[in-house]
C-alpha cells in the first residue's frame, strides 16, 4: 500500500498543508515529479481526501463551545437517523459524532455567549427527537488540536 516515501510526503504535508508540491518534495528528499505522482496516487486511492479550512469560532465572536453528549431512546429503529437529521438543522452545531459506548451521539455547539447558548439549548436542543439523556461539557481551554497522525 503506502511505502516510506508516501509516508514521508504525508508527514511533511501534515506539518504544512499549504506548502507547494515542490517544497514538500525537497523536504522529503524526492523530485517534484515523483512527489506529484505520489500525491495524485494517494488522492485517487481516496487516502488523501482533501483539505478544509479550520475556522476559529472564538475569533468570529463565538465565545462558548459546549460538547453535548446524548443517549438516544432506541425504542424507535429510526431514532438515530431522525435525531441526526434534526441536529443538522441547528446552524450552531459544528460537529456530529456517533459512538460505541455509554454516549450514543455527541454534538459540538458554538454560541456567542452563555445567554445565546441557553437560548439554543432550550429552543433547538431540548426539542431534538428521541433524547433519553443529555450531558454537557463546557470547553474551558484547548491544549492541543493537532490532528496529525503519528505516521
Amino acid at each position: 500500500m503506502l511505502d516510506d516515501t508516501d509516508r514521508r510526503l504525508l508527514r511533511h504535508l501534515q506539518n504544512d498543508p499549504a506548502a507547494t508540491v515542490s517544497a514538500l518534495a525537497s523536504r522529503a528528499g524526492v523530485t517534484p515529479a515523483l512527489a506529484a505522482r505520489r500525491f495524485d496516487r494517494m488522492r485517487s486511492r481516496g487516502i488523501l481526501k482533501g483539505q478544509r479550512a479550520r475556522i476559529d469560532w472564538h475569533a468570529l465572536g463565538f465565545e462558548v463551545e459546549v460538547s453535548l453528549r446524548f443517549t438516544i431512546d432506541k425504542a424507535d429503529p429510526r431514532a438515530f437517523d431522525a435525531f441526526i437529521s434534526a441536529a443538522r438543522e441547528v446552524p450552531e452545531v459544528v460537529e456530529i459524532q456517533t459512538f460505541l459506548g455509554r454516549v450514543d451521539v455527541r454534538l459540538s455547539l458554538v454560541a456567542r455567549d452563555l445567554a445565546h447558548y441557553h437560548r439554543i439549548y432550550r429552543e433547538r436542543i431540548l426539542t431534538l427527537p428521541h433524547i433519553a439523556e443529555i450531558e454537557a461539557l463546557m470547553q474551558v481551554a484547548v491544549l492541543k488540536t493537532d490532528e496529525r497522525l503519528p505516521l
Partner: protein
C-alpha cells in the same frame, strides 16, 4: 471581534469546504478580482478567523482503525499536578486533541490507534500511568461529520 461582511462569510464557507481553492478560483466564484480575493483571505487569516487547514485523510487506509474519545477525571490528589498532567498528555503522539472541560470530566481527549489492542496499550501504558489520573470513560468513534457552522 472585527466586522466581516457577507463576502467574507462566503469565502469562509467555500474554504471550509475546500481549503485548496486559489484566490483566483475564489474570485471567480464570488465575482471578485484575484487580488481582491487574495487580500480578503489574508485579512481573515490576520484576524485569526482562518486558522490553518485540516487534512482529510482516510484513517483506516493509513492503518489507524480506531479513534476513541476519552473523558478523564483527575483524582483529588492530581489537581496539584495539573501542569505535569497537561504537559505529559499533550506530548503523546496518539493523543490528537486535548481539551480542558467543565462538567462530568476534567479533560476530553481524542486518541487514534491502529486497533483496539493498540488503543489498550496506549491507554494502559501511556495515559493511565500519568500522575493524577482518576476515572476514565472511553467511547469509540463510529462516524463523524463536520458541519459548516454559523458562518
Amino acid at each position: 471581534m472585527s466586522a466581516i461582511d457577507d463576502t467574507d462569510r462566503e469565502i469562509l464557507r467555500l474554504l471550509s469546504g475546500d481549503a485548496t481553492l486559489t484566490s483566483a478560483a475564489l474570485g471567480e466564484r464570488l465575482g471578485l478580482s484575484q487580488p481582491v480575493a487574495w487580500r480578503r483571505v489574508r485579512r481573515l487569516e490576520g484576524l485569526g478567523i482562518l486558522a490553518g487547514r485540516r487534512l482529510e485523510l482516510d484513517l483506516a487506509a493509513l492503518g489507524f482503525g480506531v479513534t476513541v474519545f476519552l473523558g478523564v477525571k483527575l483524582a483529588a490528589r492530581g489537581r496539584l499536578a495539573l501542569g505535569d498532567f497537561e504537559r505529559a498528555i499533550t506530548a503523546i503522539p496518539e493523543v490528537q486533541t486535548v481539551e480542558h472541560v467543565l462538567g462530568l470530566y476534567d479533560y476530553r481527549l481524542r486518541v487514534v490507534a491502529r486497533d483496539l489492542g493498540d488503543f489498550e496499550r496506549v491507554l494502559r501504558r501511556r495515559i493511565l500511568t500519568l500522575p493524577g489520573v482518576g476515572n476514565v470513560e472511553a467511547n469509540v468513534l463510529l462516524s463523524e461529520e463536520r458541519r459548516p457552522g454559523p458562518i
